[in-house]
Symmetry: C2
Subunit: 257 residues, 2 copies
DNA sequence: CGCGGCATTGAGGCATATCAATGGTCGTGG
DNA sequence: CCACGACCATTGATATGCCTCAATGCCGCG
């Protein structure tokens, strides 16, 4: 149900293929030296054009936008193994900015090189397409997060998402992972106040669902956390199948069925 | 600055290319008869696979997902001229459902036909890519809506977005357009209660920003509405042109400082 | 004529925002 | 080694925007 057909990981479809590091690209771009960028630097600035596609080998980045009132909305986090920057290439000017959180190691691939490669390899095209689609899927999840979930749900969901994505990248140890995010970054990602993020994290800790030690996060009770924030394992299909024809499902079934 | 390079419409980059109806496809698929579907029908159901790409010629649809608690989140609306269903093709199973709001007229194009055409036409590939990217951009805007904007802002933003998208499809008359949405659909799209949507619409009407007569919506004061909901005029190209190097204001210059 | 879908309005409660202050940690310079 | 400032986490008190529950009205349709 949640297979992507390519990397058969046991993850919700949305995440499985995103971190897909198109080996084709990486291999092909082997000649390109990787670039080091230090933390808190802008890589792509909204409004500027860009002719480069990036591959992130190590470190965290995030995609964001500054709103008219000065608020910052973080659209998603970019983890190791991810490709980014295609959107900026396709538009005259990038819609969003991308900045580093930690020190990162990147490959910068000129757009025309991608194009040349794409002509020879339909596989590559599909891989890129899939990656773009996955990005959209994650955005969709975040949209649901922001508009329909409570603070606990949003943060729990974010933690689970990061855990699973890092897991698929082989970057977790047991149930723990490194999360180099300040509470301010989290708040800008989930659309809450730093104050409230703090309180919510505390309440999750008090509930023994997670543990936090510095930047190290441990999921203490995966099951309970998933339940709490509606991270349905295999969330595709279940609800939909119950209402095969109906777009008018018993929505607002106030009580959870 | 907000041009897409293809259809030089005076619209925010995000919308400009979305309604791009790849003439290539339409022309090529001329042999395919268009199908009529009546209102309130599911076209694609989340969790099922799909081997067809659709072009919407007339009518409104929407992409949605039912959450575990029975809530329905609407991700976006699909207007005339739009292509949809590619995501469902790329995943083993579709992440979202798509249903009609009004009666619609669709072209259904088998995936393998798309693939064959794509091999011959890099242009088509680019067009599809651009369309997918635009979809993601709209999702991004909706994400910002939901997480950072007030009720008035969200609804104002939705109305402006629909207005501009319909305008680019030639479906507005002056400042008015037909909006076949119930308040419940609106509430599921912007993440509010129907009750609150109702109150907010009233307050927008009282403020003489919009007028509503049945399903006919009129933007009375485009400027004021844009300002109200942070629909940066810059977005429309104006301010963007004023800040040729960047649409992002001078705040928060580097990631976070 | 009655019923179902949709819009509208009121009253009260809760989750999150806002404002304000404190404490801990780390790097840096004296 | 200590003093200091920058940055981040934490906590309390209060305000408010949106939700929830509940009721009424309107209109089209069988």
């Amino acid at each position: 149900m949640s297979k992507t057909g390519r990397r058969d990981v046991d993850l919700p479809g949305a995440f499985a293929a995103l971190a897909l590091s198109p080996e084709d690209i990486i291999h092909e771009a082997a000649g390109i030296p990787s670039t080091q960028v230090s933390r808190k630097r802008d890589i792509i600035v909204a409004g500027e054009h860009c002719e480069t596609v990036f591959i992130n080998h190590a470190g965290w980045l995030f995609r964001y936008k500054i709103l008219h009132n000065g608020n910052r909305q973080i659209l998603d986090f970019i983890l190791p193994g991810q490709v980014f920057g295609l959107q900026a290439c396709l538009f005259e000017s990038s819609l969003y900015s991308i900045a580093t959180i930690t020190d990162v190691s990147l490959s910068m691939i000129p757009l025309d090189m991608i194009e040349r490669m794409a002509e020879r390899s339909p596989e590559l095209v599909k891989a890129l397409f899939r990656s773009a689609t996955c990005e959209a899927a994650i955005l969709g999840e975040h949209l649901i997060d922001a508009s329909r979930r409570s603070a606990r749900e949003r943060i729990g969901h974010l933690l689970l998402e990061l855990f699973l994505r890092l897991k698929s990248a082989g970057l977790v140890e047991g149930m723990s992972f490194e999360m180099p995010l300040t509470q301010e970054l989290i708040s800008d990602a989930v659309g809450l106040t730093t104050v409230h993020v703090n309180r919510t994290l505390r309440s999750l800790r008090d509930a023994k669902l997670i543990a936090i030690d510095g930047s190290n996060v441990t999921i203490l009770d995966f099951e309970a956390l998933s339940r709490l924030c509606g991270f349905e394992n295999g969330y595709l299909g279940e609800a939909a199948r119950k209402h095969p024809t109906g777009m008018n499902p018993p929505r607002r079934a106030t009580a959870d069925d």
